[in-house]
Structures are given as structure tokens and as C-alpha cells.
Amino acid sequence: MRRETQNVLLVLLGGALCKIAWNGDYLRYVKPSLLPFLVCAAVVILALGVISIGRDVRADRSEHGHHEFGYHEFGHHDHVGRSPWLLMLPVLAIFLVAPPALGADTVSRSARAVAPQRSAFHYPPLPAGPAPALPMSEFVTRAVWDDAGSLNGRQVRLAGFIVHGAGGATYLSRLVMSCCAADVTPVTVRLESRTALWELPQDSWFQVRGQVVPGSARSGTHFTPTLTVSDLQPIRAPSEPYEF
């Protein structure tokens, strides 16, 4: 592969990373805290491409055939083989397709939920107010571990996307990310309602208001608590689709 092509590829790659950092699409793939590193990487890649293009142009202009900088040892061909062509793939994926955030497909692919990690032994009482909004992961952890039953008898609000499971059950789900989208694990809550839940489209986002069925998160239910739904509002998919 020619040096020129490699440099163009670098500029494209840096541009693709800049694009997702700028328009916020990077949140579909990685944690928000990666942003500064992502921007630095994009700038370095762009700069390396641009600097090399500029140097090649000047070298060509200064005198054809006079190898001013001494890096034309192999003519125009750098010995890197054909592997750099693969750099086209993420560039095209980002610019043309922009894959969406993970959703119901990942949840149904995952293993049956195991007990969430016990993060504290004493849970503070829920925030005051009629129906506090809770992260899904906190709701499930409390439902499984909190012996004091801080959730019992309280209305809460949860935000997540719809997953239809086997046997006609409908779940509200959220994916928890530790580093990037390759390592997400799902948290799910089974929804129970008088209205027909199976009509809700898979992967659509809802804010659900409801109350936990005490003792529903046991090993027999794969630690998936049940929520009695009192209200269901469609919402826009959040810009930060994952919990952390």
C-alpha cells in the first residue's frame, strides 16, 4: 500500500473518531469518561496523517527523486502489507451505518441473570417524594439484597427498553457497561400490568411507574424482580443508553 493511501486512511480514521466524539454517538459504544482520551487519539491520528501528507507534498515539490527526508527507502511503498485496508471497516461503519446502541437482542442473548453483586450491606432509605426515579441496577440490587425492604410499598419510576421474553413475559431492561459495549450485562425487571404489554414494540423506551412485588427476586425467578405497573409513558431513548 502506498504511503499516500495510508495517510488518507489515517485522516479518515481520525475524522471518524472526531465525528462520534462531537455528535455524542460515542456513548453508544464506550463510557462517557473515555471522551478526553478519544479526542486526544482522534487529534493525534489526524495530525499524523496531515503532517505526513504535508511532508510528502513538500518532498515531491522540493525536487523529484531527491529524498530529502530519507523515508523513501522503499520507494512509495511502505512495508506494511495489506492489513491497513482493514482500517476502512470502522471508518465506513461509523460514517455510513453508525450502529445503534445495544438493546433487546443483547438481553435475549445473555445468560440468565445471576444475582447482582452486593454493593453495600445497609441501604439508605429511598429518596423522599411520591415516586423517586431509580437507576434500574439500583432497583434490582435493592430488590435482591435489601433485607430491610426499602422498596416495599413504595412507588418508583424506572427508565428502560422493552424486551419480550419466552412465555409471553414482558420485561423492562437496561444494559450495564463497565468499559465498552463488548462487556455489557443486562439488568431486567418483569412487568406486570392489567393492560396488554405484549403490544409494546421490542426495544422501545418507556418510563414505568410501579411498585415491587415483595420477595419476587429469588433464585427461582433468576433474581428478576416483578414490578406492578401503574403507569407507562413512552420516552425518547436517552443519549446515555447504558448504566455504569
Binding site: L13, Y26, P99, T106, C179, A182
Partner: protein, 332 residues
């Protein structure tokens, strides 16, 4: 620009023209490409693929910059003065030096290749390659955070990974053949006196980035495909199974290709699996996974990766089990 007089009447098609053609074709095919995403498995795979690339790119850039700094500013003579004369004695020093590179495995491949080019014995550079992603402070802190109730997990991971790096380094010093490493990996870029350090730095970084970036993408592609294909029920069936657990978790570490800064959280979430197999997962993952093997094949040649990766897999699994039995006191 004047064409040389001997040029044929038609110009050869160069890679630049191919690139333009690919771009135009991709633009024209954008509709059908987007429709592919209607298939859930393809959509999930595409997202995981881009995620692995985006996540790894900053670390690869860091590794490439460190490697270029070594090329431009650290002379082979200086390195030779710092390191002991024999390869076997240099291995532990390289292993400890791995603690200083706070990145994941993508960063350490270009750096260790550069160390070899600058005259560091391959055994020591390989010990560095294996130690750096596994024993650096960022990874150890992440492990401590992921296993709040098990502080000994951090020590066990450190010992298992360090032992893997040292054993592999010494094995290479004893049995390794120089010709297993592709000649192009060890060829130093020619350095005419006229080149300033800045030119050497940018050119080395550019070259490393282009050559290893492609292999990173290959690794990301493999990891994404396996992520979709490998049934997650593998893990659910491991409750209480230690021997089977060790084998399956070691294989999972290879195929999932998680970042060494993230794998502790994934291991912590597999509460049904005993601790020892999860430790194996943490020690094998940073030492050998599909992304890393692709990067190694790119940097050192296929002949190298074909020998080094299986050996590392066996050694890492053994060291992890040993560290687990010693530190954790059994399977648990």
C-alpha cells in the same frame, strides 16, 4: 510532477485509486448496508465491533507514541547499558518495567516490538509485552474495585500475571529461535543523519499506527463475531464446576477479548462461577486473546503468533491456577 520518460502510456492503478473506488461504492451501497442492520445479530455485532475499535484506539495511540518516543530519543546503546547482559537476567527487569505502562494490551505490542528493534533481547521484550497490560496500577485498582470483598484477588492476579510473563520470557530465552520472529519486525528503520528526531518520531508513530491499526480491526471483528456466536449459557452452566470452569473461562478470556481494565468487572459479575476460574479469566485475558493474537501476528509475523499464543495460553492457565491455590487457598 513530470512522469519519467519510460512510463507506459497507461498509469498503473494504485492503492489510492482503489481507495477512492471503495469509498464511492460504499456511498452508493449505503442503503443496502443500513438495511443489513435490520437483522438483530448483525446489528449487535456491528455495535460491538465499533465499540472494541473505539475503546482500543486511544490505547493503541498511546502505545504507538511511547514506541515512537523510544525510537527517536532512546538509543540502543542506552538501553544496553541499563539492562543486564544476559537475556535471562533482563527478563525480570522487563517484567517489573511493565508496571509503568498504564494501558491495556493494545498499547504494549508496538512498544515491545520497538524495544526489540532497539536491541533489547526478545525474551525481555516479550516479558514486558505480557506483563504491561496485566500488572499496571490501573488494572490492579480496577480489580480491587470490582472485587470489594476479595482483596486477595488483586494479589493473586498480580502474581499469576507476573509469573506468566517471567516464565514465558525465560522459556523464550531457553528455547526461542530468532527466525520465528519475522525479519521485518526487527529491521530498524534506516536513520540518515539528516533526519531530525521530530521526523523520526512522527514517521515511526505513523508507520506503527497504520500497521497495527489494521490488525486491531481484525481482532475487533473476530471478537464481535464471537460475542454474537458464543452462547452465553456456557457461563450459566458452570455453577460449582471448578475444572470445567477453569477450561471454559480460559477459552472465554481468549474469545471475548475484553480490555484488561474492564475484564475484572465482567469476572465479578459472574457470581455463579467459583473464584478460581474467574482468576484464570483475569490472568489469561491480558496475555492472550483474539485481538492480541491478531496484533502479534501483525507485529512479529504469523510464525511467531502460532507458537507464542498457544504456549502463553497454557502457561497463563497454569500460573493462574497455581496463584489461585496459593493465594486464595483453593477453588472456592
Amino acid at each position: 510532477m513530470v512522469a519519467p520518460p519510460t512510463a507506459p502510456p497507461w498509469r498503473r492503478i494504485t492503492s489510492l485509486e482503489v481507495l477512492c473506488a471503495v469509498l464511492v461504492l460504499a456511498l452508493l451501497a449505503q442503503g443496502p448496508l443500513t438495511q443489513l442492520l435490520d437483522i438483530p445479530a448483525v446489528r449487535t455485532g456491528a455495535t460491538v465491533f465499533v465499540a472494541v475499535c473505539v475503546q482500543a484506539m486511544p490505547f493503541l495511540v498511546l502505545g504507538v507514541l511511547v514506541s515512537a518516543l523510544i525510537a527517536a530519543f532512546v538509543s540502543p546503546l542506552a538501553l544496553r547499558r541499563v539492562l543486564p547482559r544476559t537475556a535471562a537476567a533482563a527478563v525480570p527487569i522487563a517484567g517489573v518495567a511493565g508496571m509503568a505502562l498504564p494501558g491495556c494490551e493494545c498499547a504494549s505490542v508496538p512498544v515491545s516490538r520497538r524495544l526489540m528493534q532497539q536491541g533489547v533481547p526478545p525474551a525481555a521484550a516479550l516479558a514486558f509485552l505480557l506483563a504491561a497490560p496485566a500488572v499496571n496500577p490501573v488494572v490492579l485498582v480496577a480489580t480491587a474495585v470490582a472485587f470489594p470483598g476479595e482483596p486477595r484477588m488483586v494479589l493473586a492476579r498480580f502474581l499469576g500475571s507476573m509469573a506468566t510473563a517471567l516464565v514465558m520470557g525465560w522459556l523464550w530465552a531457553r528455547f526461542g529461535q530468532p527466525e520465528w520472529i519475522a525479519a521485518r519486525a526487527l529491521r530498524r528503520p534506516e536513520c540518515p543523519a539528516s533526519r531530525s528526531a521530530w521526523v523520526v518520531f512522527t514517521d515511526a508513530a505513523r508507520h506503527d499506527l497504520v500497521s497495527s491499526g489494521g490488525f486491531l480491526v481484525l481482532g475487533g471483528l473476530t471478537a464481535a463475531a464471537l460475542n454474537v456466536v458464543v452462547p452465553a449459557s456456557w457461563m450459566a452452566s458452570l455453577t460449582g464446576q471448578v475444572v470445567l470452569g477453569v477450561v471454559v473461562m480460559a477459552l472465554l478470556a481468549v474469545v471475548l477479548a475484553l480490555c484488561s481494565e474492564a475484564d475484572a468487572f465482567v469476572a465479578a459479575s459472574l457470581t455463579a462461577v467459583p473464584l478460581l476460574p474467574r482468576l484464570v479469566f483475569l490472568v489469561v485475558g491480558p496475555a492472550v486473546d483474539v485481538k492480541l493474537v491478531a496484533l502479534q501476528a501483525g507485529a512479529f509475523g504469523r510464525g511467531f503468533a502460532g507458537r507464542f499464543a498457544p504456549a502463553t495460553f497454557v502457561v497463563a492457565t497454569g500460573c493462574a491456577v497455581l496463584a489461585g491455590v496459593l493465594v486464595l487457598g483453593g477453588a472456592r
